[in-house]
Symmetry: D2
Subunit: 412 residues, 4 copies
């Protein structure tokens, strides 16, 4: 647990982050919305260089790792500020899946792995990805997995099929979650994580997945890939053999806070767009939309739900720091489904108020509406997380028979 | 009012329509989902030729107009069957906005207009569009409109700015709704409809609107256009001068039935996809998703809501036939917001059950999720229609003060 | 299946029913709301006598049974008209549980049973009740039942514990659902129905159940009772031995239509009260509540949902008549949860618009709010019915594994 | 602003409060549920004496006033703990409307008023009430008020009509909100508060209001009263003449925190009852309700919503302490509608899981379901508070036209 910075320091940092996002990221959004990636990447390169120069870089990491050294709740607030723009995290090298991989390697990589894989990522020189979900199996039950790695002659030979590998397009390396010990009694001890360069022989890029109208590029893309006897050195094992689930679980705890606070930031932006449009758009001369009670109710409900979501996430972040991610798993699951649903509702209202403009890619609303529908699905669908919360709640009644154990695997 | 065909005839027709859609339209859907329009248009050309040969053409029209001669409720059921695929209406020449334009011209065009504009449309040789909504004004209050046409020297000179002109891309002509009589006392008598060839000088195609990730093409596109002193003959006036709102209102009544029944068809398809996936997808070996109560509830609620939506639309269709669109306007507004919201919920559930696959363009679910978000906005947003229903309901209490008249204009 | 009466006859009957309810039942409601049963019963005695004289009696029954000879959909519409007042069904001898018992005995009683038990009920001279639910077991799984009857020496000896025995208070006889054949292989063939006079020795009235603030009296009460070795003649068996579930299932099919259409009637009354109050109540001088968009939306949503509910029930009624209750069970379950939830929402909105007055027993709204919360529970909770609908829907996909069979027993 | 006690002190106090409520209040609940007031009052007298002896008395007040000296957030947590039982606040002399009146008199009463009216209330020797709402006017717009007081000959002569005067039955005195300066330009400066002994000549107790089946008694009752020329000394004016709205506003700010945290306590109790019942009730032998996903989802959603509600209220409490009630009015309105709706949903779920038992007065669930339906109405209905939140939110966009000012008067 990192000590929280003095509030005034955090406020100052938040102010800098907000200004940077508003001044540097927001102007680039139109290129993302228009899928004009060439212009976007050029612009982002400048922005990222400036962010790094300004000390707005790797903010989630500890000071010794070159980051801002924030407590989890404090970084949560930074993540909200970055979430104002879909480019905020990318601009500051805090984007998924790279940030999760950084934390993974900081915790578990060997020195050699750190030098080869981590450092270029920290420096923003390469991108990475994380290959876990498989098309053949429900992501909600990660213990059922078909991809394998066999250790032979000092090398891992990997065969498998993955999809929703975010950012594979252009990434330098992947963390692959594969079954290495299929006969282990404990089904949570059968998988391991292995570092795989994306230019390895036998690693096929099947396609970029078309997500709600976008194949996208780079960080914003998700790929389907196949491993055909891909060979990597034994030393590319990340963490202990059979420790894949344990590592995945560690990776997801703080990651949920990052994600959920990013969504809170999206809610704030959407509500702001809603209010500005409601004030400016007239339904008759001199009568702005904001005079309509229906619009006022959308504003009020969005404000109350967004504030409640933020407080719930910060409370979970404090619980993780205080009690650890395992003890806080009920809270972590509660924020996942609560905030993802709040996000969907707030975006829906903002679109409705914008009328025809709302469904156009002229604002970020449609981008989020399309790309955050997955928020209720990835990292465990609503249904899995509700079952987890119920199971944790029922623990308070030890004399009572618990509900059947939810299938949740690493999601908790 | 057209007499209903014997039920057995209708059932036979529905059977033929369903088979045609399943066999000819569904196989082409992947090209639409992938924005592979070249292949799509080629395939559709064959399908449309075969549909016409098979008598599945212009089905909404009366027998004397070459259509199926169905009552409005009966055609409603056909529209539902066509709605099973996003290509069903296009395949049978019943797609918006062409079908609305056909009905408009059948009712109001001169013989010369019918020969020049209508007949090629009925034959499927050209496409058309309808230019009403303006970016500068809320679509929910169509009496506020800036586009104008002045009659000078036997010609109309049109200036204006329109968007959400569906299908402008590739259309041969447009119906333009413009202010011709700005000084008329009755604000509903200021606008007229004028037929405009799309290759007219001064008609600028500003852009295809990017709708939730798609600019699309042809029927599936929506454009922003500008009229810069566009001149057309005086004879291109459609219907009476100052009659634009009256015609628009006529056009929308049956159109709501078509749309709403199409949405019911979408719901049926989405529910079918949901059920098949729930049966096939296993969350653990031997345990399909359909065994989960959460999934069962989504199925049950979707079934009940879809059936209720269908019955409500058919009831409105019967009311229109029996009492006329004006008397039925409360019912027409009720189905608009009810079915559009049912559609959104059913699609959302189907996506949720599909998990990651649900957000991909690999099924039609994501296509509809993106492109039917507008259903709660176009042709009058939910909020306008709810106000209409309330006003009609309050008419039952004549001694009571009515609610403030809703701004609804042609939407009812 | 009874042929539908000509529409004009039905309309005339509905007009008479509506007038009778408005003129004779509504004025007595205040006594029900105030629990002033003495005055209520006196008033109802007059009203019932007049209803019988006017031919508004036993309306659900066939003409040969002295009823109105209506088809199920037609009686559904009558039930809606009666439902306008909480006293409508009682006034016309169509109240639960008596109407269900009449149908049961008309179908299955011996001539002797009809003479002794049925005729006085048809004549309105006695009241009856139905004892099935047991406190120890979830009503949603009626195959788990502890009450028993043993046949010894030409007599049934009944032991058991029942609650929610509606109308036990003052009833002349009960139909008791008890296990007579505990060892039958088919768990649906273990229970039987037995007619039991309420003054039988050993039949203990434990208490009238306090339902949401009311113990009530007579038809409006629900009791907890115990059978302590109650003995009745062997001839009191109703229908075949072991046929209890079969009879219960028959009893519930049309009963659902009655109930659901009654709820639709309640919705219409609540919406009418809402509108009248919204028109009359001013939030500022000259500004009635009905001018507020929030109120208008409540009106619009209530109108649309109530109409959809009615159409869905009538569709289910037609399906029962056309295909039988078993084939229509999906539709029957769909209306149960759909209409019960519509009812709760409409009542909630009407109360909200009434403000403080809404929570007072000064209008029937609070009465219904309290006493119809049970609508989502009795005769199978929402959750059971949703599972039934899902199971029926999944039957359309025979190649797919069905969801686990819902525990529904007689509820379907 | 009172400094927060050390967390350990607060935790210790909360532990004592929870134990007291569980051991002393919960056992008396059945008498409340059964309207057995004689037994209830006798039991409460003992409990209150013991609470006072134990220092669990007037906990909301400052130490110098004999209270616990808690910050507003800290007392909020105490209020939640008291809310576990409907008797918790009464047992510790913290019940509405007395607690509001105490705060009012502590802030604004003269020494003589304190001696005559306040001290006996602090000592628990008398009860009081607050007469503001009038049947003829919407409570949501308190500037429209008909009750008046004229000052003549050193006496106020009061005429008026009030209802929802909570606890009038048995109260020693009332605070009456009446128009004293009808001609004041500022419509918020026309009313004053006057202290009126309930045994004053001309003060008519019209009736106890029948609220959802209960007239109740004492603290749990609400009355309709009339002032017929009631005369009290000029010195009974509370606070400044014309200051009624100002005082009412002050009274409501912290009162909202008390109420909302009480509702959070109710949610916790309801969720606890739900979980215990779900664990114990079997739908088949060995299969408790808690194994059903539908029940698990109700648990999860209730837990997440209850926690979010608590955090939102505590955040508002901190804002009141930090910035004052006026600056925090958006947050205060947000908690009012958010928590009242959370309460209704959680109670509804708990009732649904309890099945038939849920609608009986055998548990506190039905009591709350009936008596807290008003939570969305009293102290300003949801609709008013949403408008307030929207107005505050729109203040962030000063260049934009604000929505029409909501009619909120003292509610904010």
């Amino acid at each position: 647990m990192t000590a929280a910075p003095p509030a005034s320091d955090l406020d100052a940092l938040l102010g800098r982050v907000r200004a940077f996002v508003a001044e540097r990221c927001v102007p680039l959004e139109a290129h993302l919305q228009a899928s004009d990636y060439a212009t976007l990447w050029a612009g982002l390169a400048d922005v990222r260089a400036d962010a790094r120069a300004a000390g707005l870089w790797n903010l989630a990491l500890s000071a010794s790792e070159g980051g801002a050294g924030l407590s989890l709740p404090a970084f949560g607030r930074v993540s909200e500020a970055l979430g104002w723009s879909p480019l905020g995290h990318v601009a500051t090298n805090g984007q998924a899946p790279d940030i999760g991989n950084m934390e993974l390697l900081l915790g578990h990589a060997t020195d050699a792995q750190k030098a080869e894989f981590l450092q270029p990522l920290l420096d923003g020189d390469v991108r990475s990805c994380f290959a876990m979900t498989e098309p053949e199996h429900a992501g909600s039950n990660p213990t059922v997995m078909s991809s394998t790695a066999r250790l032979e002659g000092g090398e891992w030979t990997i065969d498998g099929h993955k999809w929703f590998t975010t950012g594979f397009d252009g990434a330098a390396w992947a963390v692959a979650m594969v079954v290495t010990d299929p006969d282990a009694d404990n089904k949570y001890a059968r998988a391991s994580m292995i570092l795989v360069p994306t230019d390895a022989d036998g690693l096929e890029h099947v396609r970029k997945l078309p997500v709600m109208g976008d194949e996208a590029e780079g960080w914003f893309s998700h790929s389907e890939i196949r491993f055909h006897g891909v060979r990597v050195p034994e030393a590319n094992l990340l963490g202990p053999r059979g420790g894949g689930f344990q590592l995945a679980q560690e990776r997801l705890g703080p990651g949920r806070i990052h994600h959920c606070m990013r969504w809170v930031g999206v809610c704030e932006r959407a509500l702001s767009l809603l209010c500005r449009y409601a004030a400016a758009r007239e339904i008759a001369p001199g009568t702005p939309l904001a005079t309509k009670q229906a619009v006022q109710f959308m504003i009020a409900e969005s404000r109350a739900e967004t504030d409640a979501a933020r407080l719930l996430v910060l409370d979970a972040a404090e619980a993780i720091e205080r009690d650890g991610a395992k003890a806080a798993r009920g809270k972590i699951s509660a924020i996942k489904f609560t905030v993802a649903n709040t996000l969907q509702r707030v975006l829906d209202r903002a679109i409705q108020v914008h009328g025809g403009l709302g469904v156009l890619d002229d604002t970020p609303l449609a981008f989020w509406y399309r790309h955050e529908r997955g928020a209720r699905i990835y990292d465990g669908p609503d249904e899995v997380h509700k079952t987890v919360v119920a199971r944790e709640e029922m623990r308070r009644y030890p004399d009572a028979a618990p509900p059947a154990k939810a299938r949740v695997g690493v999601d908790v």
